[in-house]
Symmetry: C2
Amino acid sequence: MTGRTQAERSDETTGRLVRAARRLFGARGYAPTSIDAVAAAAGVTKGAAYHHFGGKVALFRAAFVRELEEVSAALVRAAGQEHEPMEALRRGCRTFLEHCLDPGFRQIVLLDAPSVLSWETVRAIEHDHLLRVLHDGLRVAVAGGQAADGDLPVRARLVFGALCEGGMLLARSQDPAADLPRLAAEADRFLEALRR
Amino acid sequence: MTGRTQAERSDETTGRLVRAARRLFGARGYAPTSIDAVAAAAGVTKGAAYHHFGGKVALFRAAFVRELEEVSAALVRAAGQEHEPMEALRRGCRTFLEHCLDPGFRQIVLLDAPSVLSWETVRAIEHDHLLRVLHDGLRVAVAGGQAADGDLPVRARLVFGALCEGGMLLARSQDPAADLPRLAAEADRFLEALRR
DNA sequence: GAAGTTACGTACCGCGAGTATGTACGTCAA
DNA sequence: TTGACGTACATACTCGCGGTACGTAACTTC
């Protein structure tokens, strides 16, 4: 494993660490997962983890950011399929709910993140990914006259909160495929409330 | 401190422990708060804590339950003031948002509980307090014809999720008194969606 | 009032986060 | 090319904290 540049070595190691962190933090949760375990799963030692990350929290944060990047990309992709603003919003919300079926995503993003990172931190990172998308969708709908005006950042947050609860609810279901439509129907009812 | 019955001693000690747990867990968060610190704040030692509670999680759970008991009592009291079902719902939601101004409540109930206790546990306890109240309110409104029918347990959860996010948002505001009406206005918009 | 139970306090163990230090590899100037 | 320097780790250690074992004092029961 020699003859590579420093940057290549770093990227390789940090990549492996973040991937391992997502797997273990996602499967067992933050507290019961030791840094040694993450490092071992990444094929390195604790020293490497502490060299690249400030500590356990920083490593978790990296995993959290990666989760959000993925889901927001999926949201943008799904919403982009629709040209009607309110349809795009519905599609985006449904995509988010489907994404909540991933246990790792739930554990890291919905359960552990608010406790491990401060709420301010979580909010800032979520804003740069999920919330920005949702907020933009709402703004387009308002500008086009499909949705009533109001405090859009607040509205986006409320919708997001409802979706998170919905996601947990959906995951707990023993037949998510069957419950998703029922859940989506209730969620749509709230989105309909925004119609003018 | 002698001449008391065993039940009195137990009640005294557990009461002091739970009060101290609410203070410390609420102020510093779950992880950075040691059991020794809680016991010391309660005027006892770790042995007493482990005698009455199974462990740190069990102690936290007791504090969590206590928080929920208080807020649900406040909700019932506030909603009871109104006789119009939808008005009672609005009043209850607003009371919950006001309750979120308490930092300890936010830290324990909104931030740490889902991570420390399993989501199943949190859901079960919340159901016995907050959710039951909300669900009953919705049922009355539906029965009276003021709200549209649907999947009420799911609907209650979605509303609760939105309220939790709203509560955090409100707490972060530097002027909560001024922002509460704006937030309540957006929340009301979602409640209006339920009107038939 | 003696035996048994409950309510603690105290001393200890083990695990895991964080740190200090050593070492191999990559980088860059002369 | 080679020596000096910086970077990317590994290894060994410390220490705080959750949990446990055990001892003791207070209460209860017969």
